[in-house]
């Protein structure tokens, strides 16, 4: 099915199941430990062996030789596979740095060997015995230095945009802002590490892994190891968080497959926690410059956003200016992005790539600009709202209710009680409030599904869609239940298996809308098959309460499908509605913080997010997405930073003691409100994504609240106390 005209009324609009607050259907499995994650597949009759990776101890250079004699002789060792023995391999389409193979070291902790042994402890002990002789080379590790020689990347990455005459308008604007901001490298830090089991059967290999994108992984694994894609069976039914860290094939899968081949046994490989930080990908640091010019009445006339980020050679920009092209009005505008070469681990997508770090800067700038103008920051944003793409005014937003989010949020949060900077104090706490806008584009990817209806009246949905903790199982079941007129307990969902139709997968907040649309398409096919079998006119057929009805005829579904059952399979593809209309999601984040007047410690006191993201398929799972994202934004604002050792070229704080994500004590009260809306331009579901929207702007709202509390403006994340205490009131 191709979605190329706006959705009209369809069975989803009944909202008997879709849109209901249904607890996640895989919840029982998860809280009782019966949901099997990648490393946990365990068949008592299978003699699993255990692989432990060896990572490069330098950041850049070549491996002259490796001495594995001691490792091979260590107790329990079955095989040692080295990058030299494996030799140069092709790289997967989605990988920038190579995962394994050859003598080149491109970054610290790049995988250079896997040691396979009878048990995990033996493999780990033997891995420590591998000796490596390197020819180390100098590298570039400091973005501040490397940005001086940063280059303009290919046009496909849209490095430069320009409309009107920014320079002239900015130069003559009544009120201007010109400030620099920076965001640090951040780690996905998901709870479940990257982990895989590989088992060969002849020349077929089965891989249980933790992947957000089954088909991307399968194709890239085939490329990397020069295996026929059809001979790879990939499964990833449960995933303990990804945040983009499992979008692209990772070394655990490659090492497990090679280890299993060498040891002639099924092999389990999990990346140790430090590898999560230096072996895999991260959100790259940015240095940003924002200039805004406005008339005295607050109308923006000129806006410019520039960003510098770094990556491995051949890598990509962190598109931090993306939202600035669309978020606020202004006739004269420009954006520019430049890419520096860095030899740090690969930078790549992490939750809301582009918008998350971009809004961390832009939404501080908007707060600063409002103050310069003497306007309330909400009023300033409302004044500069746009209902059309500011670069192409003939292109409207499909649906945009940012103003509604801001107004409802202000009222709910008690925004009017906000005082002047540094004005409110309770004991040792300086109290402040901040607001920031959330904005994230709505993307769709093709998504397929197969729905089987059996003679017991059970519908089983099969798709390679993944559930990374988001609730995919549940919303897919809701979709099928709605389409087929079945209760939830008559719908089974099977996900994350390469034998199933290729779906959108999970990422870019495209998963929920795309995958349920694929299920919708498959259900339409199935409905047609049922109608055809009964000789009903499929246009007026109604599926309700386990029955199929047409006119005054009504047949139980079980009878309709017969002993053989019926199957519907289809893939949703997308027309040009995203070209003719700008599709985005919107929100407003409100935060109250306390800043300790003596120590400068900032603690969040309460948070509110108001989101406008089309139809909310399930308010429970959607809320979980948003509060999780808000939590991530707290870490991003206050503590998360991969500390770069610019001499040795690696992230130093490579464990969860050193890389501080927010903990329970950091997260007090969170509220989420979803605007009651639909977006018929987005899909037959009329839904959009929320998982990344929830993160966008949170950190800036916190930064703005800290300014309101303390009067200290910090433009460089994270907003740790050392950046505040020099400017806090004297306490001695």
């Amino acid at each position: 099915m191709k979605f190329d005209t706006p959705a009209t009324t369809n069975p989803i609009d009944q909202m008997k199941v879709v849109g209901k607050p249904i607890p996640r259907i895989d919840g029982d499995l998860k809280v009782t430990g019966r949901a099997k994650y990648a490393y946990e597949w365990h068949d008592a009759s299978t003699p699993y062996a255990y692989g432990y990776p060896v990572g490069a101890s330098i950041a850049r250079g070549r491996i002259r030789s490796m001495d594995i004699a001691a490792a091979e002789k260590a107790p329990g060792v079955l095989a040692v596979v080295t990058t030299l023995a494996v030799g140069e391999r092709k790289k997967g389409k989605f990988n920038t740095a190579k995962l394994f193979g050859g003598d080149e070291v491109q970054h610290y902790h790049q995988a250079i060997a896997v040691v396979v042994a009878e048990n995990f402890e033996q493999a780990r002990a033997a891995a420590a015995l591998v000796k490596v002789d390197y020819a180390e080379e100098k590298g570039a590790f400091d973005l501040k230095e490397a940005m001086k020689t940063a280059e303009k990347p290919a046009d496909s990455q849209q490095p430069d945009t320009s409309v009107g005459d920014f320079d002239a308008t900015f130069g003559s604007a009544a009120i201007t802002l010109d400030e620099a901001y920076s965001t640090p490298d951040q780690s996905h830090a998901m709870m479940e590490p990257n982990a895989s089991i590989a088992a060969w059967d002849g020349d077929n290999v089965t891989v249980w892994t933790s992947s957000q994108m089954i088909d991307w992984w399968r194709a890239d694994l085939a490329t990397t190891l020069d295996i026929d894609k059809e001979k790879i069976h990939l499964m990833s039914p449960f995933i303990g968080g990804g945040f983009g860290g499992k979008l692209f094939l990772r070394s655990d899968a490659v090492l497990a497959v090679l280890g299993a081949q060498a040891a002639k046994r099924p092999v389990k490989v999990a990346l140790p926690r430090p590898f999560m930080i230096n072996n895999t990908t991260h959100r790259p640091a940015t240095i940003q410059r924002i200039r805004i010019g406005a008339e005295r009445d607050g109308k923006i006339t000129a806006i410019a956003h520039e960003s510098w980020s770094g990556d491995q050679p051949g890598g990509q920009l962190e598109a931090a200016v993306a939202q600035t092209r669309l978020l606020y009005a202004g006739a004269n505008r420009m954006t520019a992005m430049r890419l520096a070469t860095l030899n740090l681990p690969e930078g790549n997508a992490m939750r809301a790539p582009g918008e998350a770090p971009g809004l961390m800067a832009l939404e501080i700038a908007m707060d600063e600009m409002a103050e310069k103008l003497g306007l309330d920051p909400i009023e300033f944003r409302i004044l500069n709202d746009t209902q059309v793409d500011p670069e192409k005014p003939e292109r409207p937003f499909s649906h945009r209710n940012l103003i509604g989010c801001l107004k409802l949020g202000a009222e709910t949060f008690g925004w009017s009680s906000r005082g002047k900077p540094g004005a409110r104090r309770e004991g040792n706490w300086l109290i402040g409030q901040g607001v920031a806008v959330a904005f994230r584009n709505n993307m769709m990817l093709p998504s397929g599904a197969r729905v089987r209806l059996d003679r017991q009246g059970i519908a089983t949905v099969e798709t390679d869609m993944t559930d990374i903790g988001t609730g995919s199982y549940t919303i897919i079941a809701q979709t099928a239940a709605e389409m087929l007129g079945l209760p939830m307990d008559r719908v089974a969902v099977q996900l994350g298996d390469s034998r199933f139709p290729v779906s959108a997968g999970s990422g870019g907040q495209f998963g929920a809308n795309s995958s349920t649309s694929g299920v919708y398409a498959a259900c339409v096919k199935l409905r047609e098959a049922v109608a055809a079998k009964l000789g009903f006119n499929s246009d007026d057929v109604v599926f309700e309460n386990g029955e199929v009805r047409s006119g005054n005829r009504s047949v139980p579904l079980t009878e309709a499908v017969g002993d053989e059952g019926l199957v519907g399979e289809d893939t949703m593809t997308w027309g040009d509605l995203t070209q003719t209309h700008q599709q985005s999601t919107f929100g407003a984040h409100f935060v109250e913080v306390g800043v300790d007047v003596a120590t400068g410690e900032s603690r969040v006191r309460r948070m509110l997010a108001v989101c406008a993201a089309g139809r909310i398929l399930n308010p429970i799972t959607a809320r979980s997405q948003v509060i999780g994202a808000m939590t991530m934004g707290v870490g991003g604002a206050l503590s998360e930073e991969l500390a770069v050792d610019t001499r040795r070229g690696f992230f130093v704080n490579h464990d969860l003691a050193g890389y501080e994500v927010a903990v329970h004590a950091d997260i007090p009260h969170q509220d989420v409100i979803f605007m009651d809306e639909t977006d018929p331009m987005s899909s037959p579901m009329k839904a959009k994504g929320v998982g990344e929207l929830g993160l966008c702007g949170v950190s800036a709202a916190i930064a703005n609240a800290i300014y309101n509390a303390s009067g200290v403006r910090v433009r460089h994340y994270p907003l740790t106390l050392d950046k505040l205490i020099g400017n806090l009131p004297d306490v001695a």
Binding site: R603, D655, A657, V731
Partner: protein
């Protein structure tokens, strides 16, 4: 982790003797730090002596009005002890500021004192570290040093001791009781128990090989206000950027020990004398010889400001 032999100690004396006879032995109690270090091969003992069966898990009054805390009293139990909470509130508060409930359930009094540093370079065996590998150099001094020491540091090491409990013990003038491998009993004031790094940062305490901590003795209660203020980037489950442990009397006199700044709990008795004059003069004495890095210079200001807040809290 390398292979090791393991025994369960039956008496304190045999544990100490056995430890002295094996060249690379560690005692294990809670194991909350040791096991991690063994997995990373930072600690590579060939023999482990499990001391969990030795008792030493009681808290008893001493004849002179103090308190003897057994080496194997768990952090959770010590923090919750009624006498500790009443008479040594500083100790209870410091304990509860550290780690997590699960870790405190396992961690012991002696083990807490013997924690290794949390310097990230110490934990990465690819990097030079004089503490882990004497003579290899210090990666931290010119590297990422935000968490690390500012005072009592050396050119060989700027690591800090991570314990919260030890800060309280230092302020309370605790005494560490041990048994030497030859069976002699020994007592070390907490002030002398931990060493500064100097040229031998790998030697962290005055304990001899095989010497076994049996307990910690607190002198009679001091009265006054007991305050432990731990400053950190997130609200829980993080090591201190700095911490201030204080016992302050109603006349403004008192004692302070500071964590997160040195290789040992940092207390300068002359700074205690300056305490009634306020945070600034006291900090000036306390950190007189500070040698911060560019990354951790803020700790000087932070100690002074935090101490100011502690003094104000004691008055209020």
């Amino acid at each position: 982790m390398r292979a090791f032999t393991y025994e369960r100690a039956s008496t304190i004396e045999t544990a100490a003797a056995s430890a002295a006879s094996h060249p690379s032995t560690r005692f294990i109690a809670g194991g909350t730090n040791l096991l991690d270090l063994m997995k990373l091969e930072i600690e590579v003992p060939t023999h482990l002596i499990d001391v969990n069966g030795l008792g030493l898990d009681t808290i008893e009054k001493t004849p002179d009005g103090g308190l003897r805390i057994g080496a194997l009293v768990r952090n959770t139990d010590l923090a919750a002890d009624e006498t500790v909470r009443r008479d040594y509130g500083l100790l209870s508060r410091a304990l509860l500021a550290g780690a997590s409930g699960q870790l405190r359930n396992k961690a012991t009094t002696a083990g807490n004192l013997l924690q290794r540093t949390r310097c990230p370079y110490f934990y990465d065996t690819n990097q030079p570290c004089n503490k882990r590998q004497p003579g290899s150099g210090c990666s931290a001094i010119e590297g990422f040093s935000r968490q690390l020491g500012i005072v009592g540091v050396s050119d060989a090491c700027i690591a800090t001791h991570p314990s919260d409990m030890a800060i309280a013990l230092r302020a309370l003038d605790a005494v560490v009781e041990t048994i030497k491998p030859d069976g002699r009993r020994h007592a070390v004031p907490i002030a002398e128990f931990h060493r500064l790094p100097g040229n031998t940062p790998h030697i962290e305490t005055v304990l001899e090989q095989g010497e076994f901590i049996t307990g910690v003795v607190l002198p009679a209660p001091l009265g006054g206000r007991h305050i432990y203020r731990k400053v950190r980037d997130r609200a829980s489950y993080a090591f201190a950027l700095i911490s201030v442990g204080a016992v302050i009397q109603s006349d403004g006199t008192g004692r302070i020990a500071v964590g997160g700044v040195a290789h040992k709990p940092w207390r300068v008795e002359a700074a205690d004398v300056a305490l009634p004059q306020g945070a600034r003069p006291a900090t000036a004495v306390l950190l007189a010889d500070a040698r911060p890095t560019e990354h951790n210079r803020f700790k000087i200001d932070l100690v002074e400001r935090t101490l100011g807040a502690v003094i104000a809290e004691a008055k209020g």
